[in-house]
């Protein structure tokens, strides 16, 4: 909380009331005749044309899903097709004014939005720009089948490119917009400003906010539109995104040209159903979705309901709202009322709605109505419109034929190139700065108070005589993190960091102390206590080309950002066919002392999800080196830290933590102590307990233990561990996570497979108990202790002469605990 804001009890305790402005509903009432001043004939016809293209495209998909045939072409599409037949006016109206710099994000039902936005961008881009886009995308791979034998204008070619790229993507072809890895629910094409569509309901609700943040912080042209459904307004992450988007600080604390709201439109594509649930009358209570705006800020998000069955009404709204965003008074909420004739998916029997209802909406079909209005106003003739529809059928027929042709539109050849998808899981780039321009900072780095203070610290924990310096003199783990992060802030102008208490407070664990002085508000700020928004916005920020460090204050809060961490951040690089980069370093602090909901090591959860890198350094040297590597890369990293050891000094790296920049490659476990009789492999702060155990093993039992710190979980190189086992034949794996289903078990399983013949005993896992984490006073019965490691070695690996066990590592006990599930 900033000190400049004074909470005056006199003011806040005063009596009064909160008032609301009326929220407009379907206020647009112009006729085509009246709009002739604003639209040329071509404009009107383009609106009609784009709606027809969407209708035919989706009708084709519906036929293929239901009858496995379209216009005489047989094809079986086993994948999904969530259609929006009936919603064309809403999509075209939304996209009509937008150009390639404006980004749209969508849902699983976004074919119409992709086509509308693509057609709109094609209209606005020059022939040169279009040719460049088409030729550059995957080195012309998508373009090649389209341009073969084509003799027409570049714009016509670009429309074919859009139809083909989208359809090939839906049919999982290698020539699709995302190499067939996105598919129907995720297809997108960023050169036209079409950003990822999301198969998780409300998934775009926070990601789009991050994209708007990117545009604002990096002074990019254009606005961002989040096309989300009416049902998604019930989702937590959508609310979190809205809360993030409406933070007062944009107006109250951000300075200079940064002052002001986000260039964002939350566009509710309100087709009035969430699958079969009716949002008005059954599954929600807002009755008019625009009402939600009134709950979020004093501007009520400038919310209004627009008739999405009239494309001109939607276009009118977008023209007006864009002005608001240009005046930095965003964000805006639009409730675009529409209706889908098609089911949720082709398997939907529409048992939740009456035939009469569907027929009533079909009677109001926006394409038929708009066509007749154009004819009535003398803008077009029936013949012109008929011709346009016939030409569209030909276009779509051409697209289907081409997209299902195995020769020109092959699937990825997974037999010939079995690792094609594997190679796309990470982008593996090394990039100093995501953009080349000066960084915005408040003073030169050497003038920073923390930087100055660190000059006086001891960068190695011990003096020449081997005596430790006092804790406060030692350069700690938090200092290593700080140095890497501050260095990057002075290198990469796009880098921003945020989370709970990141500014002023300096982060709950003082890693960012000193950064507040160095950085303007828009590069370091406090977020709402809403983890889904913290990670979701970071994803959107990174997708657009920025680098970002979101922070999760306690590992236990990771569940609050479950969808973002598990479904969004890890997926988009591969789902985009490697078009998108995801340079997000999520700092996650693993607690202790604070009981069951503040002390869990959940390293196994992100490690389980393909597409995330997972690191957990526990020395200052490793923390700085691995943070540098994380911030130099372009992949999402879950960066674990342990609250037990933020102040620990460097005890291993000769010469202490280097002052300059260095990287430690991901994936390399590090031998912290050499030994010959038994290997102890640790994850996290348990390293220090393992060293304690190693001392006891040496002194009491004459066993020499080799202690290895995993450092990184994903990726992980097993070779050094196998080398160690070749020497010792024995291994114990330990960490603070509850043992069941932990990454320790993963290590044990792989080690058994890889080094079976070297093993003198099975790899033994010593993790935390499968309990709640108890109070600090009882933690010794929960987290692995040095004595547990020795007991486990005695019981399962090699009996130690004269050893008296304290904990129970016998097999019957292991069976008993598993039987009980504890």
């Amino acid at each position: 909380m900033p000190k400049v804001q004074f909470i005056d009890p006199q003011n806040v305790r005063k009596a009064g009331e909160v008032t609301f402005k009326p929220i407009p509903v379907n206020q647009y009432n112009k006729t085509v005749e009246e709009e002739k001043a604003n639209f040329s004939k071509d404009d009107f016809l383009r609106i009609y044309h784009d709606m027809v293209v969407i209708r035919e495209f989706e009708t084709m998909l519906n036929e293929i899903k239901i009858k496995s045939e379209y216009n005489g072409i047989a094809y079986n599409h086993p994948g999904p097709a969530h259609l929006s037949i009936g919603q064309e006016a809403a999509a075209v109206g939304m996209a009509y004014t937008l150009d390639a710099d404006d980004f749209i994000f969508g849902s699983h039902r976004s074919h119409g939005e992709i086509l509308a936005k693509g057609l709109s961008a094609i209209h606005k881009l020059s022939d040169e720009q279009l040719t460049k886009v088409m030729e550059n995308h995957f080195d012309g791979k998508t373009f090649a089948p389209v341009k073969a034998n084509f003799k027409g204008t570049v714009k016509e070619l670009a429309i074919r490119f859009l139809i083909y790229g989208t359809l090939a993507e839906i049919f999982a072809r290698e020539t699709g917009f995302n190499r067939g890895l996105g598919g129907s629910m995720h297809a997108f094409f960023t050169p036209f400003g079409v950003y990822p569509n999301n198969a998780i309901v409300g998934g775009s609700g926070d990601i789009a906010v991050g994209a708007a943040l990117f545009k604002k912080v990096n002074r990019k042209a254009g606005i961002v539109v989040a096309n989300i459904g009416d049902a998604s307004m019930a989702c937590g992450p959508v609310w979190e995104g809205l809360t993030f988007a409406t933070m007062d600080q944009f107006n109250e604390l951000w300075e200079g040209d940064m002052k002001g709201g986000l260039p964002l439109i939350i566009n509710i594509m309100n087709n009035q159903y969430g699958m079969g649930g009716q949002t008005c009358g059954e599954t929600a209570g807002y009755s008019v979705a625009a009402r939600i705006g009134a709950g979020l800020n004093a501007d009520q998000l400038h919310a209004e309901r627009v008739d999405g069955y009239n494309p001109l009404a939607v276009i009118d709204a977008y023209k007006r709202k864009r002005k608001i965003l240009e005046e930095k008074r965003g964000p805006v909420l639009l409730d675009v009322l529409t209706y889908r004739f098609s089911g949720h998916s082709p398997s939907d029997a529409s048992s939740y709605r009456s035939k009469e209802e569907v027929e009533a909406w079909q009677a109001a079909d926006s394409i038929i109505w708009f066509g007749s209005e154009l004819v009535k106003a003398g803008v077009a003739t029936d013949a012109e419109l008929d011709g346009m529809r016939a030409a569209t059928t030909d276009l779509i027929t051409w697209g289907v034929k081409l997209a299902i042709d195995k020769e020109v539109s092959p699937l990825m050849d997974m037999e010939k190139y079995p690792e094609l998808i594997g190679e796309m899981m990470f982008s593996e780039k090394s990039v100093d700065a995501m953009e080349d321009r000066p960084v915005e900072v408040n003073h030169p780095m050497e003038e920073n108070p923390r930087v100055k203070q660190l000059k006086t610290k001891e960068r190695f924990a011990f003096d020449k005589a081997g005596k430790p310096f006092s804790k406060i003199k030692q350069y700690g783990l938090r200092d290593g993190l700080f140095e890497a992060i501050v260095d990057r802030f002075y290198k990469d102008p796009t880098l921003v960091a945020y989370g709970e208490e990141n500014r002023d407070w300096g982060g709950a664990f003082a890693v960012y102390r000193g950064l507040t002085e160095a950085l303007p508000y828009h590069r370091l700020f406090n977020s709402p206590i809403a983890e889904a928004s913290i990670i979701g916005t970071a994803i959107g920020y990174a997708m657009c080309g920025g680098r970002v460090i979101p922070e999760i204050m306690y590992c236990d809060f990771l569940g609050r950002a479950g969808d973002e961490v598990f479904n969004q951040m890890p997926k988009w690089q591969a789902m985009s066919g490697n078009v998108i980069k995801m340079p997000v370093v999520v700092r996650v602090s693993v607690g202790s002392k604070y009981g069951a909901q503040h002390s869990q090591d959940w390293t196994a959860l992100p490690a389980h999800i393909p597409g995330l890198k997972v690191v957990f350094p526990v020395t200052p040297y490793d923390a700085k080196g691995l943070m540098n590597t994380a911030l130099q890369g372009t992949d999402p990293v879950i960066f674990f830290e342990s609250q037990r050891i933020y102040d620990i000094g460097e005890q291993f790296h000769e010469g202490g933590v280097p002052e300059g920049y260095y990287e430690i490659p991901f994936g390399e476990p590090d031998v912290k102590r050499q030994g010959s009789d038994v290997t102890i492999l640790t994850i996290g702060a348990t390293l220090y307990r393992a060293l304690e155990a190693a001392d006891i093993l040496q002194e009491k039992y004459g066993l020499s233990a080799e202690v290895i710190d995993a450092r990184t979980l994903v990726p992980f190189n097993y070779e050094p561990v196998i080398e160690s086992i070749k020497k010792t034949g024995r291994i114990v794996i330990s960490g603070d996570a509850s043992a069941r289903g932990s990454f320790m078990r993963e290590l044990a399983s792989n080690i058994t497979e890889l080094a079976f013949d070297e093993l003198d005993a099975p790899p033994v896992v010593v993790g935390s108990r499968n309990w709640i984490t108890p109070a600090y006073e009882l933690e010794d019965s929960f987290f692995p202790q040095a004595s547990w490691l020795i007991d486990a070695i005695h019981e399962k690996i090699v009996p130690l002469k004269g050893h008296v066990v304290k904990s129970n590592y016998t097999e019957p006990e292991q069976i008993r605990r598993n039987k009980l599930g504890v």
Partner: protein
């Protein structure tokens, strides 16, 4: 009245803070609420305000000092007041702690004894590593008793077995498996590997024309002691011979006295030699010692060990305080312990190698002309007495004659004694023998 300014405690885990900057100097007037100084923990910076009005009388720590929390850092009060009572006892955060001197013997994991079981019971448990190791080393693991959990044979068991058991050649392994033959202790193959021919029960020429006898315990003990002696010391032997005419004459006269009943004890040449040796030991106390690694036991008395050949094997009983004895006494004691050793009723305490300070082993009766006795560790040396042979000697004036010469073989531990000392001692023994008088 003067009051101390205390460094506040910020947070439970904070033990020390670093003083940042003093905003007031000694002598400055101070008002309540004035910021006196800043200080920092590893997490944050703080400022301390004056709690009372007054003059800043003293500052005990400078900027940059590391100070334990709750320590007096300054004093506020009226001009001229004493501050001494508030002065912290000179302690700072960097309190010197007396270095603890802990002498630790670094342990080495005890080597497991190899235990062989007659027949494996049920399923054999063996770790993959131990199994691979056994195959590589040619160790037949089926009879090893495992020391791992559930009696699992683990690598250390195979290692120990590999040291104790002969390694088998591939043919021998196959043979052992096919014919269920036991491995043997003695191996004749290259690199100590047991060949198929070494396997017990396997001899195409002689068939089973021998029997395997288990070693009696004493044999095992002797074997172990002898092996250890050679393993754990730096032994070498010097040979010399002594003119035996004097001792032979003495022996002759004692024999006469025995026959005439003047003495009751049969005094042998060995008794006389031992008597001479004791005298020599008194002159060379460094030989009358035990060598025990980093130190030596120097004995004040001579406790003489005598190697005795018995039916059950070699025994070395000791005669305590042998230097107190007359020749008759010595003779009597030597024959008494030797007799007891042969009968098997000797006091076991006297058989311990530690019981004697020096040992004599006499093989003269058997005609041995020269040998290298093995030291009875931890003793420093052993004297071997050999047979008497006539050898030419310069009798003076260029006249050579054959005189009976007695061979002496002194084995000593070079760790304890140098060659010069050993030679001088052996020379002394020779001279004592040649000039023995009773």
């Amino acid at each position: 009245m003067a009051i101390p300014v205390i460094l506040p405690r910020q947070g439970q885990s904070v033990e020390t803070c670093i003083i940042g900057e003093w905003y007031k100097q000694v002598g400055d007037p101070v008002k309540t609420g004035d910021v006196l100084f800043s200080y920092e923990t590893d997490k944050a910076s703080f400022e301390e305000e004056a709690k009372e009005d007054g003059e800043l009388l003293a500052i005990f720590f400078e900027a940059g000092d590391e100070v334990p929390v709750l320590t007096n850092v300054a004093v506020l009060g009226a001009k001229g007041e004493s501050v001494d009572e508030f002065r912290p006892g000179g302690e700072t955060a960097a309190e010197e702690q007396a270095p603890e001197v802990v002498v630790q013997e670094s342990l080495v994991a005890e080597k497991e004894e190899v235990v062989l079981v007659e027949k494996p019971e049920g399923k054999i448990r063996i770790s993959p590593r131990a199994k691979a190791m056994a195959e590589k080393m040619g160790v037949v693991f089926e009879q090893i008793q495992g020391s791992g959990p559930h009696g699992r044979i683990i690598a250390q068991d195979v290692e120990a077995a590999a040291q104790a058991l002969p390694k088998l050649t591939p043919l021998a392994q196959e043979k052992a498996k096919a014919e269920n033959l036991a491995p043997v202790k003695e191996a004749t193959g290259l690199g100590g590997r047991a060949t198929a021919a070494d396997l017990i029960n396997y001899n195409p020429v002689y068939g089973d024309d021998f029997e395997v006898k288990k070693l009696p315990n004493i044999r095992k003990l002797i074997a172990k002691a002898m092996h250890q002696s050679l393993q754990n010391s730096a032994q070498l032997t010097h040979h010399m011979s002594a003119d035996a005419r004097k001792v032979m004459a003495l022996r002759k006269s004692f024999k006469k006295k025995l026959e005439s009943g003047e003495v009751s004890q049969n005094i042998t040449i060995n008794d006389l030699v031992c008597f001479a040796v004791i005298k020599a030991l008194k002159k060379f106390p460094q030989v009358n010692t035990h060598f025990i690694g980093d130190s030596m036991r120097w004995f004040k008395k001579v406790h003489l060990g005598l190697a005795v050949d018995t039916e059950r094997g070699l025994m070395v009983p000791a005669v305590k305080n042998a230097d107190d004895l007359s020749i008759e006494g010595l003779s009597s004691q030597l024959s008494s312990v030797a007799g007891a050793a042969r009968k098997g009723n000797v006091d076991p305490e006297l058989l311990k190698p530690e019981a004697a300070s020096f040992t004599v082993s006499n093989l003269g009766n058997y005609g041995v002309e020269m040998f290298t006795p093995v030291i009875n560790l931890p003793q420093t040396a052993i004297l071997g007495v050999c047979t008497i042979v006539p050898r030419p000697k310069d009798l003076g004036d260029g006249v050579y004659g054959f005189v009976p010469m007695m061979g002496l073989s002194l084995t000593y531990d070079h760790q304890a004694l140098d060659g010069g000392e050993a030679t001088l001692f052996l020379k002394e023994v020779k001279e004592q023998i040649e000039n023995l008088s009773i």
